[in-house]
């Protein structure tokens, strides 16, 4: 039992306990995603059909590797928050919700670890 009034609690962080932080981070990453994923699409078009040496050479460029890393980080933070919103909208049973939100975080981290390690390895020349 808290002695704080409901109004005082809501003023801080609201019902989600996270305040507007997720909302804001979703917008921030959405804005960042526009140039980053445009770069990704253009890169894939430019190197589609390229052989192994050409592609690894391109991904070995430090600037390309750094941007690719940002594509992954911004994209994954954005998609994790986005999926959390979807889960919270449709899954109302408390245990199932917690379990799926946990899986959401695990999936994001696994994809992130794989992609980032690959990008860094390629960045250092394969």
């Amino acid at each position: 039992m808290s002695l704080r009034t409901p109004l005082s609690r809501v003023r801080g962080l609201g019902a989600s306990r996270g305040g507007t932080e997720h909302f804001w981070r979703q917008r921030l990453t959405a804005v960042a995603n526009i140039p980053l994923l445009a770069f990704f699409v253009i890169f894939v078009i430019a190197y589609n059909g390229a052989d192994y040496e050409t592609l690894t050479g391109a991904l070995g460029n430090p600037i390309v590797a750094a941007i690719m890393g940002l594509v992954i980080i911004s994209g994954l933070i954005h998609m994790r928050i986005g999926m959390q919103v979807i889960v919270e909208d449709y899954i109302h049973e408390e245990f199932a919700k917690l379990a799926i939100l946990m899986l959401n975080t695990f999936f994001t981290l696994i994809i992130g670890a794989l992609c980032l390690f690959a990008v860094i390895k390629l960045g250092f020349g394969g």
Binding site: P6, A15, R27, A30, V31, N33, I34, L37, A38, V41, I45, A46, N48, G49, Y52, L55, T56, L59, M68, I72, G75, L76, M79, G82, M83, I86, D89, H92, F107, I111, L114, C115, F117, A118, V119, K121, L122, G126
Partner: protein
Amino acid sequence: MAEVSKSRPISPHLTIYRFKPTMWMSIVHRITGGALYFGTILMAWWLVATASGEESFNTMNAVYGSIVGQIVLFGYTWALLHHMMGGIRHLVWDTIHAIEKEQSTRLAQATLVASVCLTLLVWIIGYIVR
């Protein structure tokens, strides 16, 4: 407090609204977002296979170059570009622009037209430079 939180409204009440372009595009934005979520597996395989050496790179290339692979990648391209257009629309709305009935409807239609045109453009250029 407990009773209050039990009876509070939950979203989204899809069944009580008449379907309109803005509503369709809202649903499609969510579906494409969800598709892109799992689509990151495609990106991960592309990077991991390339980083693992020439042999795994060739396997990945053969799968992505197959008919089924190309269809999946075409769908992924559209989902990404449509979600991007829809996202820009959301960001425009966040600045309190184009939220009037006619404008928002036109913007919703524009996102679909733009995403289809861009997807075709990307694939046409992709096949030309290949």
